[in-house]
Amino acid sequence: MQAPRIVVQGFTACFDGKPAVKNLDLEIFPNERLAIIGPASSGKTTFLRSLNRLNDLDHGFTHSGKILHDGKDIYDADVDVAELRRKIGMVYAVPVPLPWSIYDNLVYGLRLAGIRDRTTLDERVEKALGYAVLWDEVKDRLHEPANVLSGGQQQRLCIARVLVLEPDVLILDEPCSGLDPISTGKIEDALVALKERTSIVLVTNNTKQAARASDRTAFFLLGDLVEVGPTAQLFTKPTQKKTNDYLVGQFG
Protein backbone atom coordinates (compact mmCIF):
# COMPACT_ATOMS: atom_id res chain seq x y z
CA MET A 1 0.00 0.00 0.00
CA GLN A 2 1.12 3.55 -0.78
CA ALA A 3 2.07 6.03 1.93
CA PRO A 4 -0.91 8.13 3.00
CA ARG A 5 -1.18 11.65 1.59
CA ILE A 6 -2.88 13.03 4.68
CA VAL A 7 -2.48 11.72 8.21
CA VAL A 8 -4.81 13.05 10.88
CA GLN A 9 -3.53 12.43 14.42
CA GLY A 10 -5.63 13.11 17.53
CA PHE A 11 -7.22 16.13 15.87
CA THR A 12 -9.79 18.13 17.84
CA ALA A 13 -11.53 21.25 16.48
CA CYS A 14 -13.47 23.64 18.69
CA PHE A 15 -15.65 26.69 18.08
CA ASP A 16 -15.80 29.06 21.05
CA GLY A 17 -14.44 26.25 23.20
CA LYS A 18 -17.08 23.71 22.13
CA PRO A 19 -15.64 20.71 20.31
CA ALA A 20 -17.05 19.98 16.85
CA VAL A 21 -14.59 17.21 15.99
CA LYS A 22 -13.06 15.12 18.77
CA ASN A 23 -9.70 13.35 18.85
CA LEU A 24 -9.81 12.21 15.26
CA ASP A 25 -7.41 9.72 13.68
CA LEU A 26 -7.72 9.14 9.94
CA GLU A 27 -5.59 8.59 6.89
CA ILE A 28 -6.25 9.60 3.32
CA PHE A 29 -4.38 7.75 0.58
CA PRO A 30 -3.41 8.84 -2.90
CA ASN A 31 -5.87 7.91 -5.65
CA GLU A 32 -8.73 6.96 -3.37
CA ARG A 33 -12.21 8.30 -2.96
CA LEU A 34 -13.07 8.63 0.72
CA ALA A 35 -16.70 9.34 1.56
CA ILE A 36 -17.66 10.84 4.89
CA ILE A 37 -21.21 10.21 6.01
CA GLY A 38 -23.12 11.01 9.16
CA PRO A 39 -26.15 12.92 10.41
CA ALA A 40 -26.29 16.72 10.68
CA SER A 41 -23.78 18.39 13.04
CA SER A 42 -21.61 15.31 13.26
CA GLY A 43 -18.48 17.31 12.43
CA LYS A 44 -18.13 16.30 8.76
CA THR A 45 -17.96 19.81 7.37
CA THR A 46 -15.78 21.06 10.23
CA PHE A 47 -13.31 18.27 9.50
CA LEU A 48 -13.32 19.08 5.81
CA ARG A 49 -12.75 22.77 6.45
CA SER A 50 -9.93 21.90 8.83
CA LEU A 51 -8.09 20.15 5.98
CA ASN A 52 -7.60 23.40 4.04
CA ARG A 53 -7.63 25.64 7.12
CA LEU A 54 -10.76 27.46 6.04
CA ASN A 55 -11.91 27.32 9.67
CA ASP A 56 -9.16 29.83 10.40
CA LEU A 57 -11.56 32.50 9.09
CA ASP A 58 -13.78 31.86 12.11
CA HIS A 59 -12.51 33.86 15.07
CA GLY A 60 -13.79 31.31 17.59
CA PHE A 61 -11.89 28.38 16.01
CA THR A 62 -9.21 26.53 17.99
CA HIS A 63 -7.66 23.12 17.46
CA SER A 64 -5.30 20.55 18.89
CA GLY A 65 -3.62 17.49 17.40
CA LYS A 66 -2.04 17.27 13.96
CA ILE A 67 -2.95 17.06 10.32
CA LEU A 68 0.08 15.97 8.31
CA HIS A 69 0.16 16.66 4.58
CA ASP A 70 3.01 14.72 2.98
CA GLY A 71 4.50 14.48 6.45
CA LYS A 72 4.25 18.16 7.38
CA ASP A 73 1.74 19.54 9.89
CA ILE A 74 -0.45 21.99 8.00
CA TYR A 75 -0.98 24.02 11.18
CA ASP A 76 2.75 24.70 11.58
CA ALA A 77 3.59 28.40 11.83
CA ASP A 78 5.73 28.40 8.68
CA VAL A 79 3.06 26.92 6.41
CA ASP A 80 1.93 29.19 3.56
CA VAL A 81 -1.83 28.89 3.96
CA ALA A 82 -2.54 30.19 0.46
CA GLU A 83 -0.24 27.53 -1.02
CA LEU A 84 -1.86 24.85 1.18
CA ARG A 85 -5.33 25.78 -0.05
CA ARG A 86 -4.17 25.40 -3.63
CA LYS A 87 -2.92 21.89 -2.82
CA ILE A 88 -6.08 20.90 -0.96
CA GLY A 89 -8.84 22.26 -3.13
CA MET A 90 -12.37 22.67 -1.84
CA VAL A 91 -15.78 22.52 -3.51
CA TYR A 92 -18.76 23.88 -1.56
CA ALA A 93 -22.31 22.65 -1.13
CA VAL A 94 -23.77 25.55 -3.10
CA PRO A 95 -22.01 26.38 -6.36
CA VAL A 96 -20.70 29.93 -6.05
CA PRO A 97 -19.35 31.20 -9.35
CA LEU A 98 -17.67 34.56 -8.81
CA PRO A 99 -19.57 37.24 -10.76
CA TRP A 100 -17.20 37.09 -13.71
CA SER A 101 -16.86 35.15 -16.96
CA ILE A 102 -16.42 31.37 -16.99
CA TYR A 103 -12.81 31.81 -18.07
CA ASP A 104 -11.98 34.38 -15.38
CA ASN A 105 -13.42 32.06 -12.73
CA LEU A 106 -11.19 29.24 -13.94
CA VAL A 107 -7.94 31.18 -14.13
CA TYR A 108 -8.41 33.13 -10.88
CA GLY A 109 -6.56 30.58 -8.74
CA LEU A 110 -3.77 30.29 -11.28
CA ARG A 111 -3.35 34.04 -11.44
CA LEU A 112 -3.20 34.15 -7.64
CA ALA A 113 -0.42 31.57 -7.88
CA GLY A 114 1.44 33.95 -10.15
CA ILE A 115 0.86 32.16 -13.46
CA ARG A 116 0.30 34.76 -16.17
CA ASP A 117 1.34 33.01 -19.37
CA ARG A 118 -1.71 32.92 -21.64
CA THR A 119 -0.93 29.57 -23.30
CA THR A 120 -0.37 27.85 -19.95
CA LEU A 121 -3.62 29.31 -18.63
CA ASP A 122 -5.56 28.16 -21.71
CA GLU A 123 -4.09 24.65 -21.57
CA ARG A 124 -4.83 24.19 -17.88
CA VAL A 125 -8.37 25.54 -18.33
CA GLU A 126 -9.09 23.10 -21.15
CA LYS A 127 -7.66 20.16 -19.21
CA ALA A 128 -9.57 21.01 -16.02
CA LEU A 129 -12.84 21.47 -17.90
CA GLY A 130 -12.21 18.09 -19.48
CA TYR A 131 -11.77 16.36 -16.11
CA ALA A 132 -14.93 18.05 -14.82
CA VAL A 133 -16.82 16.83 -17.93
CA LEU A 134 -17.76 20.39 -18.83
CA TRP A 135 -15.51 21.22 -21.79
CA ASP A 136 -17.99 20.30 -24.53
CA GLU A 137 -20.74 22.33 -22.94
CA VAL A 138 -18.80 25.58 -22.46
CA LYS A 139 -15.91 25.55 -24.92
CA ASP A 140 -17.63 28.04 -27.22
CA ARG A 141 -18.68 30.47 -24.51
CA LEU A 142 -15.77 30.72 -22.12
CA HIS A 143 -16.14 34.48 -21.96
CA GLU A 144 -19.80 34.55 -21.06
CA PRO A 145 -20.79 35.28 -17.45
CA ALA A 146 -20.54 32.18 -15.29
CA ASN A 147 -23.92 32.69 -13.69
CA VAL A 148 -25.79 31.95 -16.93
CA LEU A 149 -24.86 28.27 -16.53
CA SER A 150 -27.33 25.82 -15.01
CA GLY A 151 -26.88 24.72 -11.39
CA GLY A 152 -25.23 21.44 -12.35
CA GLN A 153 -22.91 23.16 -14.83
CA GLN A 154 -22.02 25.77 -12.20
CA GLN A 155 -21.02 23.05 -9.74
CA ARG A 156 -18.85 21.32 -12.36
CA LEU A 157 -17.34 24.74 -13.10
CA CYS A 158 -16.52 25.06 -9.40
CA ILE A 159 -14.88 21.65 -9.49
CA ALA A 160 -12.90 22.60 -12.59
CA ARG A 161 -11.92 25.87 -10.93
CA VAL A 162 -10.22 23.82 -8.22
CA LEU A 163 -8.80 21.23 -10.64
CA VAL A 164 -6.87 23.81 -12.69
CA LEU A 165 -4.66 24.15 -9.63
CA GLU A 166 -3.82 20.41 -9.86
CA PRO A 167 -4.48 19.75 -6.17
CA ASP A 168 -3.20 16.72 -4.20
CA VAL A 169 -6.54 16.36 -2.51
CA LEU A 170 -9.97 17.41 -3.71
CA ILE A 171 -12.44 17.96 -0.87
CA LEU A 172 -16.11 18.28 -1.63
CA ASP A 173 -18.75 19.35 0.88
CA GLU A 174 -22.10 17.84 -0.18
CA PRO A 175 -21.47 18.99 -3.75
CA CYS A 176 -24.70 17.51 -5.10
CA SER A 177 -27.11 18.60 -2.39
CA GLY A 178 -28.90 21.06 -4.63
CA LEU A 179 -28.70 19.15 -7.89
CA ASP A 180 -30.96 16.90 -9.94
CA PRO A 181 -30.08 13.19 -10.46
CA ILE A 182 -28.65 13.70 -13.95
CA SER A 183 -26.28 16.46 -12.83
CA THR A 184 -25.38 14.36 -9.79
CA GLY A 185 -24.56 11.43 -12.07
CA LYS A 186 -22.25 13.59 -14.18
CA ILE A 187 -20.36 14.73 -11.11
CA GLU A 188 -20.02 11.19 -9.78
CA ASP A 189 -18.69 10.08 -13.18
CA ALA A 190 -16.17 12.87 -13.06
CA LEU A 191 -14.99 11.72 -9.64
CA VAL A 192 -14.34 8.19 -10.92
CA ALA A 193 -11.99 9.53 -13.57
CA LEU A 194 -10.42 12.04 -11.22
CA LYS A 195 -9.15 9.60 -8.65
CA GLU A 196 -6.38 8.77 -11.14
CA ARG A 197 -4.87 12.17 -10.36
CA THR A 198 -5.87 13.16 -6.83
CA SER A 199 -7.29 11.92 -3.58
CA ILE A 200 -10.95 12.76 -3.13
CA VAL A 201 -12.77 13.39 0.13
CA LEU A 202 -16.51 13.57 -0.37
CA VAL A 203 -18.81 14.64 2.44
CA THR A 204 -22.34 13.60 1.70
CA ASN A 205 -25.70 13.32 3.40
CA ASN A 206 -26.74 10.78 0.85
CA THR A 207 -25.62 7.29 1.90
CA LYS A 208 -26.49 5.91 -1.52
CA GLN A 209 -24.10 8.37 -3.09
CA ALA A 210 -21.38 7.27 -0.66
CA ALA A 211 -22.03 3.66 -1.61
CA ARG A 212 -21.86 4.46 -5.34
CA ALA A 213 -19.04 6.94 -5.47
CA SER A 214 -16.39 5.97 -2.93
CA ASP A 215 -13.70 3.39 -2.21
CA ARG A 216 -13.70 3.82 1.53
CA THR A 217 -16.30 5.37 3.81
CA ALA A 218 -15.98 7.01 7.22
CA PHE A 219 -18.94 7.39 9.53
CA PHE A 220 -19.02 10.46 11.82
CA LEU A 221 -21.40 10.92 14.74
CA LEU A 222 -21.48 13.92 17.09
CA GLY A 223 -17.87 14.81 16.41
CA ASP A 224 -16.51 11.25 16.72
CA LEU A 225 -15.20 9.03 13.96
CA VAL A 226 -17.21 5.88 14.67
CA GLU A 227 -15.90 3.67 11.94
CA VAL A 228 -13.94 3.76 8.70
CA GLY A 229 -13.46 0.98 6.18
CA PRO A 230 -13.84 -0.17 2.60
CA THR A 231 -17.20 1.08 1.37
CA ALA A 232 -18.58 -2.32 0.44
CA GLN A 233 -17.71 -3.72 3.84
CA LEU A 234 -18.99 -0.73 5.85
CA PHE A 235 -22.34 -0.81 4.12
CA THR A 236 -22.84 -4.60 4.34
CA LYS A 237 -21.04 -5.60 7.53
CA PRO A 238 -20.46 -2.58 9.77
CA THR A 239 -18.46 -3.40 12.89
CA GLN A 240 -20.20 -0.82 15.07
CA LYS A 241 -23.82 -0.86 16.17
CA LYS A 242 -24.10 2.92 15.73
CA THR A 243 -23.07 2.63 12.09
CA ASN A 244 -25.66 -0.02 11.51
CA ASP A 245 -28.33 2.05 13.26
CA TYR A 246 -27.54 5.00 11.04
CA LEU A 247 -27.52 2.96 7.85
CA VAL A 248 -30.90 1.42 8.61
CA GLY A 249 -32.30 4.84 9.36
CA GLN A 250 -32.30 5.07 13.14
CA PHE A 251 -30.87 8.62 13.21
CA GLY A 252 -32.93 9.94 10.34
Binding site: A82, R85, R86, G89, Y92, P99, L165
Partner: protein, 279 residues
Amino acid sequence: MRVSPATSQRVAVGFMWALAAITFAVLVFILAFILAHGLPHVTWSFLTQSPTSMGREGGIFPMILGTILVAGLAVLVAAPIGVATAVYLTEYTREGRLTAVIRFGADCLAGVPSIIFGLFGFVFFAIALGMGLSVLSGSLTLALMVLPTIIRTSEEAIRAVPYAYREVSFGLGSTRWQTVIHVVLRSAIPGISTGIVLSLGRSISETAAVMLTAGSALRLPRSLFDSSRTLALHFYILAREGISMTNAYATASVLIIAILALNVLSYWLMRRFVAKVGR
Protein backbone atom coordinates in the same frame (compact mmCIF):
# COMPACT_ATOMS: atom_id res chain seq x y z
CA MET B 1 -70.67 60.65 15.03
CA ARG B 2 -68.28 57.74 14.62
CA VAL B 3 -66.11 57.68 11.56
CA SER B 4 -65.74 54.25 10.05
CA PRO B 5 -62.21 52.80 9.77
CA ALA B 6 -62.55 52.73 6.00
CA THR B 7 -63.38 56.44 5.87
CA SER B 8 -60.59 57.45 8.20
CA GLN B 9 -58.17 55.40 6.10
CA ARG B 10 -59.35 57.17 2.96
CA VAL B 11 -58.90 60.61 4.57
CA ALA B 12 -55.48 59.80 6.06
CA VAL B 13 -54.10 58.24 2.90
CA GLY B 14 -55.46 61.09 0.82
CA PHE B 15 -53.73 63.57 3.11
CA MET B 16 -50.42 61.72 2.86
CA TRP B 17 -50.66 61.53 -0.92
CA ALA B 18 -51.21 65.30 -0.87
CA LEU B 19 -48.02 65.72 1.17
CA ALA B 20 -46.12 63.57 -1.32
CA ALA B 21 -47.52 65.59 -4.20
CA ILE B 22 -46.52 68.87 -2.53
CA THR B 23 -42.99 67.59 -1.93
CA PHE B 24 -42.64 66.54 -5.52
CA ALA B 25 -44.13 69.84 -6.71
CA VAL B 26 -41.63 71.80 -4.57
CA LEU B 27 -38.76 69.88 -6.16
CA VAL B 28 -40.02 70.49 -9.67
CA PHE B 29 -40.75 74.12 -8.87
CA ILE B 30 -37.24 74.82 -7.52
CA LEU B 31 -35.57 73.19 -10.51
CA ALA B 32 -37.88 74.78 -13.08
CA PHE B 33 -37.73 78.19 -11.44
CA ILE B 34 -33.93 78.33 -11.49
CA LEU B 35 -33.53 76.80 -14.93
CA ALA B 36 -36.26 78.91 -16.54
CA HIS B 37 -34.68 82.12 -15.30
CA GLY B 38 -31.09 81.07 -15.73
CA LEU B 39 -30.65 78.72 -18.68
CA PRO B 40 -31.30 81.37 -21.37
CA HIS B 41 -28.26 83.26 -20.05
CA VAL B 42 -25.95 80.26 -19.97
CA THR B 43 -24.07 80.88 -23.17
CA TRP B 44 -20.74 79.62 -24.38
CA SER B 45 -19.07 82.92 -23.54
CA PHE B 46 -20.65 82.88 -20.06
CA LEU B 47 -19.02 79.52 -19.42
CA THR B 48 -15.63 80.39 -20.87
CA GLN B 49 -14.99 84.01 -19.87
CA SER B 50 -13.79 85.63 -16.69
CA PRO B 51 -16.12 87.90 -14.74
CA THR B 52 -15.74 91.64 -14.89
CA SER B 53 -16.92 94.32 -12.44
CA MET B 54 -17.38 91.86 -9.54
CA GLY B 55 -19.43 89.49 -11.65
CA ARG B 56 -21.95 91.98 -12.97
CA GLU B 57 -20.60 91.32 -16.43
CA GLY B 58 -18.66 88.52 -18.01
CA GLY B 59 -18.65 84.82 -17.28
CA ILE B 60 -17.88 82.27 -14.62
CA PHE B 61 -14.92 80.36 -15.99
CA PRO B 62 -12.65 80.86 -12.94
CA MET B 63 -15.44 79.61 -10.66
CA ILE B 64 -16.01 76.51 -12.76
CA LEU B 65 -12.31 75.76 -12.56
CA GLY B 66 -12.22 76.59 -8.85
CA THR B 67 -15.17 74.31 -8.16
CA ILE B 68 -13.63 71.44 -10.09
CA LEU B 69 -10.33 71.90 -8.27
CA VAL B 70 -11.76 72.24 -4.76
CA ALA B 71 -14.42 69.52 -5.04
CA GLY B 72 -12.27 67.18 -7.13
CA LEU B 73 -9.30 67.37 -4.80
CA ALA B 74 -11.57 66.92 -1.78
CA VAL B 75 -12.95 63.67 -3.17
CA LEU B 76 -9.51 62.57 -4.34
CA VAL B 77 -8.24 62.89 -0.78
CA ALA B 78 -11.32 61.53 0.99
CA ALA B 79 -12.04 58.52 -1.24
CA PRO B 80 -8.91 56.42 -0.51
CA ILE B 81 -9.08 57.20 3.21
CA GLY B 82 -12.78 56.46 3.38
CA VAL B 83 -12.59 53.22 1.41
CA ALA B 84 -9.57 52.05 3.42
CA THR B 85 -11.47 52.73 6.64
CA ALA B 86 -14.46 50.79 5.35
CA VAL B 87 -12.22 47.89 4.31
CA TYR B 88 -10.66 47.85 7.75
CA LEU B 89 -14.06 47.85 9.47
CA THR B 90 -15.49 45.07 7.32
CA GLU B 91 -12.60 42.81 6.35
CA TYR B 92 -9.75 43.23 8.80
CA THR B 93 -11.29 43.20 12.22
CA ARG B 94 -14.25 41.81 14.04
CA GLU B 95 -16.94 43.84 15.74
CA GLY B 96 -15.71 45.12 19.07
CA ARG B 97 -14.82 48.19 21.06
CA LEU B 98 -12.48 49.53 18.39
CA THR B 99 -14.98 49.32 15.55
CA ALA B 100 -17.62 50.88 17.82
CA VAL B 101 -15.29 53.82 18.49
CA ILE B 102 -14.50 54.27 14.79
CA ARG B 103 -18.18 54.10 13.83
CA PHE B 104 -19.17 56.50 16.59
CA GLY B 105 -16.50 58.92 15.41
CA ALA B 106 -17.71 58.68 11.82
CA ASP B 107 -21.33 59.18 12.90
CA CYS B 108 -20.42 62.25 14.93
CA LEU B 109 -18.32 63.65 12.10
CA ALA B 110 -21.32 63.18 9.80
CA GLY B 111 -23.43 65.36 12.10
CA VAL B 112 -21.01 68.27 12.41
CA PRO B 113 -22.47 71.31 10.58
CA SER B 114 -20.58 72.63 7.60
CA ILE B 115 -20.00 76.03 9.23
CA ILE B 116 -18.04 74.27 11.99
CA PHE B 117 -15.94 72.53 9.35
CA GLY B 118 -15.39 75.99 7.92
CA LEU B 119 -14.25 77.41 11.27
CA PHE B 120 -11.96 74.45 11.78
CA GLY B 121 -10.50 74.59 8.28
CA PHE B 122 -9.87 78.28 8.76
CA VAL B 123 -7.90 77.97 12.01
CA PHE B 124 -6.25 74.63 11.18
CA PHE B 125 -5.43 74.49 7.48
CA ALA B 126 -5.44 78.20 6.63
CA ILE B 127 -3.76 79.56 9.76
CA ALA B 128 -2.05 76.83 11.82
CA LEU B 129 -0.66 74.97 8.78
CA GLY B 130 -0.11 78.21 6.88
CA MET B 131 -2.02 77.27 3.75
CA GLY B 132 -3.98 80.52 3.77
CA LEU B 133 -7.37 80.92 2.13
CA SER B 134 -6.69 78.57 -0.76
CA VAL B 135 -7.89 75.76 -2.96
CA LEU B 136 -5.89 73.40 -0.75
CA SER B 137 -7.42 74.58 2.55
CA GLY B 138 -10.90 74.40 1.04
CA SER B 139 -10.50 70.96 -0.43
CA LEU B 140 -8.93 69.44 2.69
CA THR B 141 -11.79 70.86 4.76
CA LEU B 142 -14.35 69.40 2.37
CA ALA B 143 -12.49 66.08 2.35
CA LEU B 144 -12.97 65.82 6.10
CA MET B 145 -16.61 66.77 5.67
CA VAL B 146 -17.48 64.10 3.09
CA LEU B 147 -15.36 61.39 4.69
CA PRO B 148 -18.21 59.90 6.80
CA THR B 149 -20.43 59.62 3.71
CA ILE B 150 -17.74 57.71 1.84
CA ILE B 151 -17.04 55.44 4.81
CA ARG B 152 -20.72 54.67 5.30
CA THR B 153 -21.60 53.99 1.67
CA SER B 154 -18.42 51.97 1.08
CA GLU B 155 -19.11 49.88 4.16
CA GLU B 156 -22.63 49.14 2.98
CA ALA B 157 -21.43 48.27 -0.51
CA ILE B 158 -18.74 45.96 0.84
CA ARG B 159 -21.15 44.24 3.20
CA ALA B 160 -23.50 43.60 0.31
CA VAL B 161 -20.88 41.38 -1.38
CA PRO B 162 -21.85 37.78 -0.50
CA TYR B 163 -19.68 36.14 2.14
CA ALA B 164 -19.44 33.02 -0.01
CA TYR B 165 -17.33 34.94 -2.57
CA ARG B 166 -14.69 35.46 0.08
CA GLU B 167 -14.69 31.79 1.08
CA VAL B 168 -14.29 30.73 -2.54
CA SER B 169 -11.44 33.15 -3.01
CA PHE B 170 -9.63 31.99 0.12
CA GLY B 171 -10.24 28.41 -0.92
CA LEU B 172 -8.45 29.05 -4.21
CA GLY B 173 -5.38 30.22 -2.37
CA SER B 174 -5.70 33.96 -2.04
CA THR B 175 -4.43 36.09 0.79
CA ARG B 176 -6.85 38.42 2.56
CA TRP B 177 -5.53 41.40 0.64
CA GLN B 178 -5.90 39.63 -2.70
CA THR B 179 -9.48 38.74 -1.79
CA VAL B 180 -10.19 42.34 -0.87
CA ILE B 181 -8.78 43.66 -4.12
CA HIS B 182 -9.87 41.03 -6.65
CA VAL B 183 -13.20 39.92 -5.21
CA VAL B 184 -14.61 42.30 -2.62
CA LEU B 185 -13.72 45.71 -4.05
CA ARG B 186 -14.21 44.56 -7.62
CA SER B 187 -17.81 43.66 -6.79
CA ALA B 188 -18.41 46.65 -4.55
CA ILE B 189 -17.02 49.32 -6.88
CA PRO B 190 -20.32 50.52 -8.34
CA GLY B 191 -21.73 50.87 -4.81
CA ILE B 192 -18.62 52.65 -3.58
CA SER B 193 -18.70 54.95 -6.60
CA THR B 194 -22.25 55.94 -5.71
CA GLY B 195 -20.97 57.29 -2.41
CA ILE B 196 -18.09 59.04 -4.09
CA VAL B 197 -20.35 60.69 -6.66
CA LEU B 198 -22.72 61.84 -3.91
CA SER B 199 -19.75 63.28 -2.03
CA LEU B 200 -18.67 65.12 -5.14
CA GLY B 201 -22.17 66.59 -5.31
CA ARG B 202 -22.02 67.68 -1.69
CA SER B 203 -18.61 69.25 -2.21
CA ILE B 204 -19.87 71.21 -5.19
CA SER B 205 -22.95 72.39 -3.30
CA GLU B 206 -21.15 73.37 -0.13
CA THR B 207 -20.90 77.07 0.53
CA ALA B 208 -20.37 77.91 4.20
CA ALA B 209 -17.25 75.78 4.69
CA VAL B 210 -15.69 76.93 1.41
CA MET B 211 -16.36 80.58 2.15
CA LEU B 212 -14.23 80.41 5.29
CA THR B 213 -11.40 78.29 3.82
CA ALA B 214 -11.04 78.83 0.07
CA GLY B 215 -11.88 82.51 0.10
CA SER B 216 -13.64 84.37 -2.68
CA ALA B 217 -10.99 85.58 -5.12
CA LEU B 218 -12.40 86.22 -8.59
CA ARG B 219 -9.27 85.46 -10.57
CA LEU B 220 -8.23 82.19 -12.08
CA PRO B 221 -6.42 80.02 -9.50
CA ARG B 222 -2.85 79.39 -10.68
CA SER B 223 -1.79 77.02 -7.92
CA LEU B 224 -3.34 75.06 -5.07
CA PHE B 225 -2.25 77.84 -2.72
CA ASP B 226 -4.33 80.44 -4.57
CA SER B 227 -7.68 81.53 -3.23
CA SER B 228 -10.56 80.56 -5.48
CA ARG B 229 -14.28 81.21 -5.48
CA THR B 230 -16.53 78.22 -6.13
CA LEU B 231 -19.75 78.37 -8.15
CA ALA B 232 -21.97 78.01 -5.09
CA LEU B 233 -20.23 80.86 -3.29
CA HIS B 234 -20.24 83.03 -6.42
CA PHE B 235 -23.98 82.49 -6.76
CA TYR B 236 -24.48 83.38 -3.09
CA ILE B 237 -22.46 86.59 -3.38
CA LEU B 238 -24.15 87.66 -6.64
CA ALA B 239 -27.60 87.08 -5.18
CA ARG B 240 -27.03 88.35 -1.66
CA GLU B 241 -25.24 91.51 -2.63
CA GLY B 242 -27.63 92.10 -5.50
CA ILE B 243 -24.77 92.35 -8.00
CA SER B 244 -26.56 90.75 -10.92
CA MET B 245 -29.72 88.68 -10.77
CA THR B 246 -29.33 87.42 -14.34
CA ASN B 247 -25.85 86.14 -13.66
CA ALA B 248 -26.99 84.70 -10.32
CA TYR B 249 -29.72 82.68 -12.04
CA ALA B 250 -27.34 81.57 -14.75
CA THR B 251 -24.71 80.48 -12.22
CA ALA B 252 -27.35 78.61 -10.23
CA SER B 253 -28.47 76.86 -13.41
CA VAL B 254 -24.97 75.60 -14.06
CA LEU B 255 -24.81 74.39 -10.46
CA ILE B 256 -28.19 72.65 -10.71
CA ILE B 257 -27.28 70.94 -13.96
CA ALA B 258 -24.05 69.64 -12.44
CA ILE B 259 -25.99 68.30 -9.44
CA LEU B 260 -28.63 66.73 -11.68
CA ALA B 261 -25.94 65.03 -13.75
CA LEU B 262 -24.22 63.66 -10.65
CA ASN B 263 -27.52 62.38 -9.26
CA VAL B 264 -28.34 60.60 -12.50
CA LEU B 265 -24.84 59.10 -12.50
CA SER B 266 -25.13 57.87 -8.93
CA TYR B 267 -28.58 56.44 -9.62
CA TRP B 268 -27.25 54.57 -12.65
CA LEU B 269 -24.27 53.24 -10.66
CA MET B 270 -26.58 52.08 -7.88
CA ARG B 271 -28.77 50.17 -10.32
CA ARG B 272 -25.71 48.49 -11.79
CA PHE B 273 -24.54 47.59 -8.31
CA VAL B 274 -27.88 46.10 -7.31
CA ALA B 275 -27.99 44.15 -10.57
CA LYS B 276 -24.53 42.81 -9.87
CA VAL B 277 -24.66 41.67 -6.25
CA GLY B 278 -28.41 41.40 -5.74
CA ARG B 279 -28.97 38.45 -8.05
